[in-house]
Amino acid sequence: MSPPVIAKHSVRLTINGEAYEGEVEPRTLLVQLLRDHAGLTGTHVGCVVGECGACSVLVGGALVKSCLMLAVQAHGCEITTIEGLASDGALHPIQEAFVSLFGLQCGFCTPGFVMASFALLSRNPNPTEDEIRRDLSSNLCMCTGYVQIVEAVKEAASRLQQWNSGENT
């Protein structure tokens, strides 16, 4: 039995502002490219079928579950992962809100929740609790019961507004 030959494809994309170029099999998922090829292990795999949201990243600013996208589909795209949110060593206000309001426990779902919150607050800077709960239902957390996550997103909205108005940069 001859082993199957799998041709590799070259992909070029931008991850957290840096150019990345590599060779992947057609079946390689974006999350595998990020974790195994680019070494960005902050994006996690909890289900690999798009249900848990732990692998959420931004592709061209849109929230994407990176287990549902092939790496070759991301060719030419700008990707932002959890590692790309902090700037100059300072946590992004959303990250800071998750820390100060205990919006996480084991941390495995956290990068996904932070990215989903980032996408939500980019669209809707001042969401109600219902809106937060509806939006974040894309992600699963087994530890927190969501209460402190929702509180963290509310706090993040408030911090982000201050941050954007230059009061707390």
């Binding site: 079928v49 590692e83 084991c106 957390c141």
Partner: protein
Amino acid sequence: MEQRREYVGRSVRSKEAPRHVSGRGRYVDDLSLPRMLYASILRSPYAHARIVSVGGGAAAQLAGVRGVITPDEVRRLTRPFKPGRYAAGLRVPIPEYASAIEKVRYVGEPVAMVAADTRARAEDALERIEVDYDPLPAVVTAEDAASPSAALIYEELGSNVAWQGYVSYGDVDSAFKNADRIVSENLKIHRYSSTPLEPFACLAESTPERLTIWCNSQSPDVVYEALSEALGLDNVRVIVPDVGGGFGQKIHLIRKYAVLTALMAVKTGRPVKWIEDRSEHMMAGGHSCEQEFDVEAAVTASGEVLGLKIRDTDDVGGSVSTLTIHFTNKLNNLFNTYKVQHLRLEGRSVLTNKCPVVPNRGIGKPGMCFVWERIMDCVAQELRLDPIEVRRRNLIAVSQFPYTTPNGNIYGSGDYQALLDRALVNVGYHEVRRRQAEQNAQRDRGADLVTSARASRKAGSPPRLRGGVPWLAPQQSQHPSSPGSNVTHYIGIGVVIGVEPGGRNAARDMAIFPQSKQMPGAGGVEGATVKIEKNGAVVFTLGSPSCGQSHETTASQIIADVLCVAPERVSLTSTFDSALSPWGISSSNSGNNFHLYDVGAVHGAATRLREKVLTLAAHLLAAEKSMLRIEDGVVYVGRVPRVANEQPASGPAVGRVPRGEREEMPSGPVVTFAELGKVAYANQAQLPPGFEPGLQVTYYHSHPHADPLMLPDAHGRVRAQYTFSSAVHAAVVEVDAETGRVRVVRYVIVSDNGTMINPSVVDGQIYGSAAHGISVALGEGFVYSADGQLRTLTLLDYGKSTTLETPHIEIEHYPVPDPFTTLGQKAAGEGAAIPSPAAIASAVEDALAPLGVKVRHLPLSPEHVWRLMSGRT
């Protein structure tokens, strides 16, 4: 010197969170080693089959494949696990290996493993492994399995009923003779899991010197023992990095995979990583067991429960290794919060062709609480009494603490009536009742206008009570509900109470298996190391791993208070490493152990280190040790400090004690931790005579109040656990009249977790465990087909609650410090998962009282509730 509490009791900023929000967590799958291979596992597609042959040759030929392990090799190269304490009841010893050998007994049981250069290639190769199965009849329900004609899952046992036994306390027969009434019910809890978001993960490296495994195990001891036993190795190192949730899932079955991964590393001579995927975890990672209870309560006319008889059937799936794990854990909360003196619990463990069972948040205890709280409601219904009043009549009174239960558990402190009082106020109990009565009246008015098909269908059924509150509205109604009603849902409220045991005592099992040849361990032992570095930084090492419970944060707060430094200067050296961590029998992220054993160890180590600091500082400052004070890592000669307000021994005081008035920093001589560090590690000439160099203390803690009843007495009384938190849960639900969907409108908890070290961390544990119990009650669970195929392979099919189904849980703390623990603390990790299924059941039953519905079985999925409402169960 005064012990201060500046940081204990405060929601001090999390030490773990900054790395997790930045993607800097380090889980097993984030680690790589040079020349590392990736493994993948071939699993059984059958629930029950004989393995005729397994051929790995074609898979091994595939390019990039470096190793194949078949059942023959597992049998040849490894030894079976020794039966653990949860298999103590086995009639004949049954060797269990890391993979299936001659038979598969559940869908997903591991059969073979492949390692290759990439994970994808390893998965490709699985398709080339040739397995010849001879399918056998699948035995899927406990009822079928217990039938004498059922196919045998383990032929050597002669029956699928693998264990039967009982415990009995008090004089149960007399209690039943003296009863005015016997209340009987059949109750069931379904199969579920805690589904940690990070599945099992192992990375093994074998060198001639030792075998090292990085593994997300909650109980490294289980993996350590398993590797030693199975592979015959005496130099094993177990490292547990960040763990993506445990909840009990990562205690037992993970040892199989640790052994297979390690065997592959030995065989290939290369590091091997194996990461489980979600569907593998759902089918083979371990489930809670399906439990059925036939319960009889002996009660007086006034609602006092004199005694309880329970016959418990546990469906333990297709393995004998955790045969009695759910039964034995019921000893931990056998009497819940009640002063009942007579109880008999019979158990039987039935094997089925389903996933083996493992602990889940609270294991066994949610079932026991469900029994008690459902029975309290049943008693109230039968006697037409208020369910809250029935509970009040049976609660242990505040004056009875410390209280010893008939089976030997000692409840240090508590105030159950007060918890109930607060919960009723917080949930607005009477207002809910008023709204409910109003709505039911409205519905009945609507019903009078319409001829209800449903009512006519049920014409033969006995008259039902109207209103959700039988004792408030005793009128009868023939037309309880109707499609003509303009009310679209039913409102109900359930109020339940439960204890949360903490701090494991493994000797508990000897009360059930007195014939055990070997004591399974008794009491607890756990270590911690606290060190002041040469530069004055304070670092520590815990004896146990963490799975997200903020152990670094809370331990730092304790150390900060004892050593009088800011928590920012205190940090964890590393996560668990068996070669470095001071570990003992209690070094497990399970059993609600941390609050008792790790806190005791950290506090003890810090206290002893403080003595070293003061001894050295006194020598350097030429001062009396008793005159020294420490402030922010600086030791100086101060006046005798004023006494801080002492925390009362009991009563609802919050953990934080105000500091005594601070004194001004003196102008006299001082010495900093950094200066002490330089002397302690580098300058023998400046050390006091007899002073052991260095500023490091390793302290092993055991519970100083572990006796009496650490070991079972002649009556089988033993302390199953050592601390007992308690909580009242009040749930308000709306049940959709058309679909049966249950929405939790309010969820109020009043909780006594003793002295809280970090209230926000405790909140997080309560929110999370409550949310899990609520999700379980509302429908999360495993479903098997009649031929033993698991139908719930994904989290979506399984029905895990999201932000939408999970209510906004409200907590009030009512801490009554424990008189026997280091800081008055009690457990908080499992608690709210214990009463929450009962709370939802109680609320749904209350809501559907107008329909005469009785809730006896979980889960309350829309389908099940709809069937209850339609009388189609």
